[in-house]
C-alpha cells in the first residue's frame, strides 16, 4: 500500500511514525497530547499488547477523544486500573515500564529537552510549565522516544535549560555511573526519524516523498543523508487513524 503522508497533519504523521516504534513493548509511560495519541494508535494497530500508563495513575485506558489533563475523565474512563502517581513513578524507577514518549518546547543535539524557561532561569524570556514528570521519565525509562513537530525554533544546539537529560557520549558516561538507562534513543518529527549516536542525532530515515532538505530544514545540527531507506508504515496504523478523534 502506497501511503501519501502529506494527506495527514504534522501531528498525525508523528503519531504514525511513533506507533511503529512501539512494536514489541508491553507498557508505555505516556503524557497528554501527541505521546498519548501515538500510543493509542499503536495499541489499535501494530501493538495491541501495549498497556498505556499515565502519571495520574490510570493504566490500560485507550482515550479516543481529546484529553486536556493526564487526570481527565477520558483517561480514567476505560482504565483497567486506577492507582496513585507514587505507584506509577515507582514502577518507572524500578524499571518496570518499557518505553516512554516525551515532547518539549526545545530539543538539542544530544536530546536534552527544555520545558522550563526560554532564556535564563532567573531572568527568562518565557517562563514555562516546568518538568512535570518529564525529567523523571527522561532519567528513568529504559527506552525513550522523543516526539517533536518540525518547528525549527524548537530545535537548538544547546537547550536554554536541560529539564530532561539527554544522551550521547558524555551524558551516557554519567548515566552509566549513576545506573541510569541510556536516555533518548529515537527522535521523531513529522518528516523523519533520527537516532542517537555518541555525537548526537543522526538522520535515520524519512517519510516517503519527503526530501532531505525538508527533513532537515532549519535544524541547527550538522546532519548527513539518512542511513536507511524510507520509513515503512504498517497499513493497519493508517486504518486505525480513523478511530481516534483528535
Amino acid at each position: 500500500m502506497k501511503i501519501d503522508y502529506r494527506e495527514y497533519s504534522p501531528n498525525k504523521r508523528i503519531a504514525i511514525i511513533a506507533a511503529s516504534e512501539l512494536v514489541g513493548h508491553k507498557s508505555c509511560f505516556v503524557g497528554i497530547g501527541i505521546p498519548s495519541d501515538a500510543a493509542c494508535l499503536a495499541k489499535l494497530s501494530v501493538e495491541p499488547e501495549l498497556n498505556l500508563i499515565y502519571e495520574s495513575g490510570a493504566i490500560g485506558a485507550l482515550p479516543l477523544s481529546k484529553s486536556y489533563s493526564t487526570g481527565s475523565p477520558s483517561i480514567a474512563h476505560g482504565a483497567d486500573m486506577i492507582t496513585d502517581s507514587l505507584t506509577v513513578f515507582s514502577d518507572l524507577q524500578a524499571g518496570r515500564i518499557d518505553v516512554g514518549l516525551l515532547s518539549a518546547a526545545q530539543i538539542d543535539k544530544f536530546g536534552n529537552l527544555n520545558s522550563t524557561v526560554i532564556g535564563g532561569y532567573d531572568d527568562p524570556k518565557i517562563r514555562m510549565v516546568g518538568s512535570g514528570g518529564a525529567h523523571d521519565i527522561a532519567c528513568l525509562i529504559p527506552n525513550l522516544i522523543i516526539l517533536m513537530p518540525h518547528d525549527p525554533r524548537r530545535f537548538v544546539d544547546t537547550v536554554d535549560f536541560a529539564t530532561s537529560p539527554g544522551s550521547g557520549r558524555d551524558i551516557k558516561k554519567i548515566r552509566e555511573q549513576l545506573n541510569l538507562p541510556e536516555g533518548p534513543s529515537v527522535l521523531i518529527t513529522d518528516k523523519a526519524k533520527f537516532i542517537m549516536s555518541d555525537d548526537g542525532w543522526l538522520l535515520h530515515s524519512m517519510l516517503d516523498n519527503f526530501t532531505f532538505a525538508e527533513a532537515t530544514e532549519g535544524l541547527p545540527w550538522s546532519l548527513k543523508p539518512p542511513i536507511s531507506g524510507p520509513i515503512e508504515t504498517d497499513p493497519s496504523i493508517i486504518s486505525a487513524l480513523a478511530q481516534i478523534n483528535y
Binding site: 486536556y68 475523565p73 502517581s85 522550563t116
Partner: protein, 297 residues
C-alpha cells in the same frame, strides 16, 4: 465520635494561619476550587502552596497575592498553555519558587508520610534540574555504593482536598484518579476535606476499601457539592474543558482576571451561588458528560 462537619468559613479560619505551608489536592480530578478560594476571600497571606502538577487554581491563588512561595513540579493550564499569573509573578520576582519534578514532589510527600526526613531516588542527578534546588544533597547506598539524590521530606501544615463523600466523623471516601492527593493529605499535619456529599457511617462501613483517610486524621468536613468545578468528580460531574480554555485568555489580561476573580471568588457567598454562576445549562451538560465514569455512590 466527634461531629467534624463545618462551614467553609469556619474550617479555613480555625485551621489555616498566615505563613502556613498548604498542600492542595486534586490531579486533574477533584481539585478543591471552592474550598481553596476561601483562602482568597479571607485574605490569608504569606502562604506556601505545594503539589506535584498544579493547574489554574494555583494561578488564581498567585494572582490574588496571598502566595509567598510555590513548591511544585509543574504549574500551567494542562494542554492549553502557561500559568500566566505565575509567569508574571516570577518575572516580577514577587514570588519565591522551589522547583522540583512531579516524581520528586510526590517522593517528598511520601517521605513525610512515612515519617522519615528523606528518601533516596535516582532522579535529580543529571541535567540542569538539580541546580534548581541549591540545597539538594546526594546520598550513597551503604549496601551497593550507588549514588542517589536525597529527596527531603515535605510535611505541609495543612492539606485542602476535595473528595466524593465522607461521614460526619471524617472518614473520607474517594475513587477515580487520585494522583498525589492522598499522599499529600496523609503527609500533612492537618487535613480539611470538602465533599460532594456527606453520607452515613454505616454507608462508609459497607465499602471500607473506598476510605482513603481515617477520621482521626481529619480536622473538618464540609459538604460542598460542585466544589471541584471546573475540574471534575468521578460519579458526579465532568470537567469543564471550555472553562480552562477560556481561562487562558482571561488570565493573560490582569484586568480581565480581576473581573473573573470578583465574579468567581470574591462575590460568591456560598456554594449555592457558585453553582448558580456555573449555570443550569452547564451543570446539565457536565452531569451528562461523565464519559461513563459511573456514580458509585
Amino acid at each position: 465520635m466527634i461531629d467534624k462537619t463545618s462551614t467553609v468559613q469556619h474550617a479555613i479560619k480555625n485551621n489555616v494561619n498566615a505563613g502556613d505551608t498548604i498542600f492542595i489536592g486534586g490531579f486533574g480530578h477533584l481539585i478543591p476550587f471552592y474550598l481553596s478560594h476561601e483562602l482568597i476571600r479571607q485574605k490569608i497571606v504569606d502562604l506556601t502552596i505545594c503539589r506535584s502538577g498544579a493547574d489554574i487554581l494555583f494561578d488564581q491563588l498567585i494572582a490574588s497575592e496571598i502566595v509567598k512561595k510555590i513548591i511544585f513540579g509543574y504549574v500551567g493550564n494542562p494542554t492549553v498553555g502557561l500559568s500566566h499569573s505565575f509567569s508574571r509573578a516570577y518575572k516580577k520576582k514577587s514570588i519565591e519558587i522551589e522547583e522540583w519534578t512531579n516524581q520528586s514532589i510526590i517522593m517528598r510527600l511520601h517521605a513525610a508520610r512515612m515519617g522519615v526526613s528523606f528518601v533516596p531516588s535516582k532522579i535529580l542527578q543529571i541535567g540542569d534540574k538539580p541546580s534548581n534546588i541549591a540545597y539538594l544533597k546526594q546520598i550513597t547506598c551503604p549496601y551497593t555504593g550507588h549514588k542517589f539524590s536525597a529527596i527531603p521530606a515535605l510535611k505541609p501544615d495543612i492539606a485542602l482536598i476535595h473528595a466524593q463523600c465522607a461521614d460526619k466523623y471524617g472518614n473520607v471516601q474517594m475513587w477515580g484518579i487520585d494522583g498525589d492527593t492522598i499522599e499529600g493529605a496523609l503527609a500533612s499535619d492537618k487535613i480539611i476535606v470538602s465533599v460532594e456529599k456527606i453520607i452515613s457511617n454505616s454507608k462508609i462501613k459497607e465499602s471500607p476499601e473506598k476510605t482513603v483517610i481515617p477520621s482521626h486524621r481529619v480536622s473538618n468536613i464540609i459538604e460542598l457539592p460542585w466544589g471541584a468545578y471546573p475540574s471534575y468528580v468521578s460519579g458526579y460531574y465532568s470537567r469543564d474543558d471550555d472553562h480552562y480554555i477560556e481561562y487562558d485568555a482571561t488570565s493573560r489580561d490582569e484586568d480581565k482576571l480581576s473581573s473573573y476573580l470578583k465574579n468567581w471568588v470574591h462575590d460568591v457567598r456560598n456554594i449555592k451561588e457558585y453553582k448558580k454562576i456555573i449555570g443550569n445549562t452547564k451543570i446539565k451538560e457536565l452531569e451528562e458528560g461523565l464519559c461513563g465514569v459511573k456514580n458509585e455512590d
